[in-house]
């Protein structure tokens, strides 16, 4: 399976990848994007099985990336990994077609639960 990790922070991308490993999902191939625009491009060229995206990014936000993908008919499973975990943000994410929202700070267990919800088994 292939996972696209989108975050403008290289440090946070490393933490997300490390947490995937700690959650038992270290066997998946990982592709990285620095913003929403790059994430949209990489979804089209790399065809990942899951997108894990920050919300607040320069160039294009995570929610705009999701809306762009859904507007183009792309149904890739999409989850947010963001510091903004309010009910309002969760509702916006769900309305836009996100499968889940993991709030920072997070645990490996939160990752495993979220990935399992979209059918990705530990690898």
């Amino acid at each position: 399976m292939k996972i696209l990790v989108a975050d403008d922070s290289r440090v946070m991308r490393q933490i997300v990848i490390r947490t995937l490993r700690q959650a038992g999902h270290g066997g998946h191939e990982v592709v990285e994007a620095e913003n929403g625009r790059q994430a949209v491009e990489l979804v089209q060229t790399e065809a990942p099985d899951l997108v894990l995206s920050d919300w607040n990014m320069p160039e294009m936000s995570g929610i705009d990336a999701l809306l762009t993908l859904r507007g183009a008919g792309n149904a890739v499973p999409f989850g947010f990994v963001t510091s903004e975990g309010s009910d309002e943000m969760r509702a916006r994410a769900e309305q836009a077609g996100a499968a889940f929202l993991i709030a920072k700070p997070f645990t490996p267990e939160a990752f495993d639960e979220a990935l399992s919800s979209v059918g990705l088994v530990a690898s």
Binding site: V11, Q14, T82, P105
Partner: protein
């Protein structure tokens, strides 16, 4: 008139959770006196605008910046992260605190991208300190503050 802001207990719980999750070091954050004026600090800020208006700042002395960045990147003690990685790590700390503070306050509101400076940051005059945590980690000062917009 009282100004709505997170309590010190809320802020400390959030910072402690973030440290455990991202920095992953066994040393605890401990309460401390405010940092001396002459201690050079890295400063990172985010602003929240909307129904609630405020600013969150995270200030760390250089040794804490280096140790935090090593922890977040999984580096060994003998590896020195570059300045860009340090700025990235400190910016992500304030982003996480800011996002969680935003979630605790009335919405809707918008969180800015983090701004990081290697030195003191000029705070807007309309912002007043509402909550402050003065901490020490591995012997170096760490300060987390929430400032709120003064009512007109």
């Amino acid at each position: 008139m009282s100004i709505l802001a997170p309590t010190p207990v809320d802020l400390e719980a959030l910072v402690t959770d973030m440290w455990a999750s991202f920095v992953g070091a066994p040393e605890l954050l401990l309460p401390a006196a405010p940092p001396a004026e002459d201690v050079p600090l890295w400063s990172a800020t985010v602003t929240v605008t909307g129904e609630w208006r405020g600013m969150v700042t995270v200030d760390l002395a250089e040794p804490a910046v280096l140790a935090v960045t090593r922890g977040m990147l999984g580096f060994g003690d003998d590896e020195d992260p570059d300045a860009a990685s340090c700025a990235d790590a400190v910016g992500e700390l304030v982003n996480v605190v800011g996002g969680n503070v935003k979630s605790l306050m009335p919405g809707p509101s918008t969180l800015s991208l983090p701004v990081v400076s290697h030195g003191p940051v000029e705070l807007p005059s309309e912002m007043t300190e509402a909550t402050a945590l003065h901490l020490t980690w591995q012997g170096a000062p760490v300060r987390v503050r929430v400032l709120t917009a003064t009512p007109a």
